[in-house]
């Protein structure tokens, strides 16, 4: 499957890119299907590819010596996976894994480094993504410490829902447990509670969001803070502008 000659709007960073800069990227981008739990970047290992998610949603996960793990950041079609490469590094102490399977475009880390040198518009987009990731990590630091599990589940589901764009998520309890940094039995109880409230329905690894407004009401402020900053960093008109360009 060849990569579209103009951005298809599926990845926000690519959609915001100046047309000439996108044209330069074309030959280096390769479409990939990312299955659930695929490790894109393993901790402390050299990063060989960077990814622009389209429908896939990925997690930056800190895995501790004890084996306990917690998500520190979520990246989907709004962002980019490979920030250390953009900042002159070649590895990170985190695993980046696919949590919601889907499509992405990828390119080699070496080509991406070269490309950054010649594309100021890409550099500025990546900088804004880094800023968004900073905001997310600030908020997670506080939220993980201070907010109850049920609210953290809501935050994660809302952030992921935005990035997937469909009301149904493929999601095991194991995975959700890592996302919110608790053991599986606790997450099972939390999901049951959300079901009783009529906010979600869970069946055989599929979680359907039934009442998005209800999730937002129950959620801590952390979701709104992250989304507000994201909207400020990537004003919606840029998406519209790129969509018009295609037609």
């Amino acid at each position: 499957m060849p990569v579209a000659a103009t951005p298809n709007g599926a990845n926000r960073l690519l959609a915001c890119l100046a047309p000439a800069d996108y044209a330069l990227l074309l030959t280096a981008l390769e479409p990939v299907d990312l299955p659930s739990k695929r490790v894109l970047h393993a901790r402390d290992q050299p990063i060989d590819h960077v990814y622009f998610p389209e429908t896939a949603v990925c997690s930056i996960i800190a895995v501790m010596e004890s084996g306990d793990a917690a998500e520190s950041g979520t990246v989907g079609r709004d962002g980019f996976i490979g920030v250390p490469v953009a900042l002159g590094g070649d590895s990170a102490p985190f695993d980046t894994i696919v949590q919601v399977p889907g499509r992405a475009l990828r390119m080699s880390a070496a080509k991406f480094r070269e490309y950054l040198e010649v594309s100021p518009s890409m550099r500025s987009l990546i900088e804004r993504h880094i800023q968004a990731l900073l905001v997310q990590s600030f908020q997670s630091t506080a939220c993980n410490r201070l907010h109850p599990l049920l609210q953290r589940c809501c935050r994660w589901l809302l952030l992921t829902h935005d990035r997937v764009g469909s009301a149904e998520l493929l999601l095991t309890h194991d995975l959700l447990a890592v996302m919110v940094g608790v053991r599986r039995p606790s997450v099972t109880l939390a999901v049951q509670q959300l079901e009783r409230l009529g906010l979600v329905a869970y069946r055989r690894g599929r979680l359907a969001i039934r009442d998005r407004k209800g999730l937002e009401d129950l959620c801590c402020e952390c979701y709104a803070v992250v989304q507000e900053h994201l909207a400020r960093l990537f004003p919606p008109y840029e998406m519209e502008a790129s969509a018009t360009r295609q037609t």
């Binding site: 930056i60 996960i61 800190a62 501790m64 010596e65 004890s66 306990d68 793990a69 917690a70 998500e71 520190s72 950041g73 920030v83 250390p84 953009a86 900042l87 002159g88 590094g89 990170a92 102490p93 985190f94 500025s124 900088e127 804004r128 880094i130 800023q131 990731l133 900073l134 905001v135 990590s137 600030f138 908020q139 997670s140 630091t141 506080a142 939220c143 993980n144 410490r145 201070l146 907010h147 940094g181 801590c220 402020e221 952390c222 803070v225 900053h229 400020r232 960093l233």
Partner: protein
């Protein structure tokens, strides 16, 4: 305040900030006349949450803290910054606001550089850009690690992590830190912190008296900390090895 050591032309200016120290002499010489030395006083708020940042600060001494505060008014520290770092990194990312408050914990001094000057220098000086990029990467590691640490690690371990970081940044084994401050940074109530400090004191790791902590056994402190201290430190050291 007069500029320290602005003196002889061509001589490399001396600064305690490690990012500036990692720059080649030519870069440092160009920056130097634009830097304004300012004191950092304990409790000074450098940036309010969500307020535009009009300057960046290369910290030379003291200890600053990026604090996230929730709607209910509880706070927790996302990162602490000392002479290894820079306050106002988002200025370089083109969107100079942050949903955190930046404040001074332990007094010291910093070199201030206006927002426009910082952006101009970043645009034309690749050496500065490289150093700032590597620092951004290290800060991001710090923050992402803290997010997981705050979820997964026990208070005592997090307390040790914080004290090790503060000791490195201040380059001191004994420093002022009130229980209130430490509880706020770690996002716990004060009674829980008092208990944690007492346990550490009994174990011979530190002594705590009237707002002063003294690290009595650094190795024990490291052993009592979670691994997050080492992860963050290792990534920070890469910033300075990179040149």
């Amino acid at each position: 305040m007069t500029r320290p050591g602005a003196a002889r032309s061509g001589a490399r200016p001396s600064t305690a900030n490690r990012l500036l120290s990692a720059l080649p002499t030519s870069s440092l010489l160009r920056l130097w006349p634009q830097l304004e030395p300012i004191p950092l006083n304990a409790h000074d708020v450098i940036y309010q949450s969500d307020e535009p940042m009009d300057a960046v600060y290369f910290v030379e001494s003291g200890l600053c803290s990026l604090m996230t505060t929730t709607r209910e008014g509880y706070g927790v520290e996302a990162a602490s910054i000392g002479s290894e770092g820079l306050l106002g990194l988002p200025v370089g990312l083109g969107a100079p606001t942050m949903p955190v408050e930046t404040l001074v914990r332990v007094k010291g001094r910093a070199l201030r550089l206006g927002e426009q000057a910082f952006r101009r220098e970043l645009a034309r000086d690749t050496a500065l850009r490289d150093v700032v990029n590597r620092y951004a990467n290290a800060l991001l590691v710090h923050l992402l690690q803290s997010a997981a640490c705050n979820r997964l690690h026990a208070l005592e371990a997090r307390c040790c992590r914080w004290l090790l970081g503060a000791s490195d940044r201040l380059d001191l084994n004994a420093f002022p830190v009130t229980q209130e401050l430490l509880a706020g940074a770690l996002g716990v109530r004060r009674p829980s912190l008092t208990l944690a400090l007492r346990t550490l004191q009994r174990a011979g790791v530190l002594s705590y008296r009237r707002g002063h902590v003294t690290i009595t056994d650094r190795l024990k402190l490291e052993a009592s900390s979670c691994e997050c201290y080492a992860v963050v430190r290792n990534h920070l050291e890469r910033v300075f090895r990179g040149r």
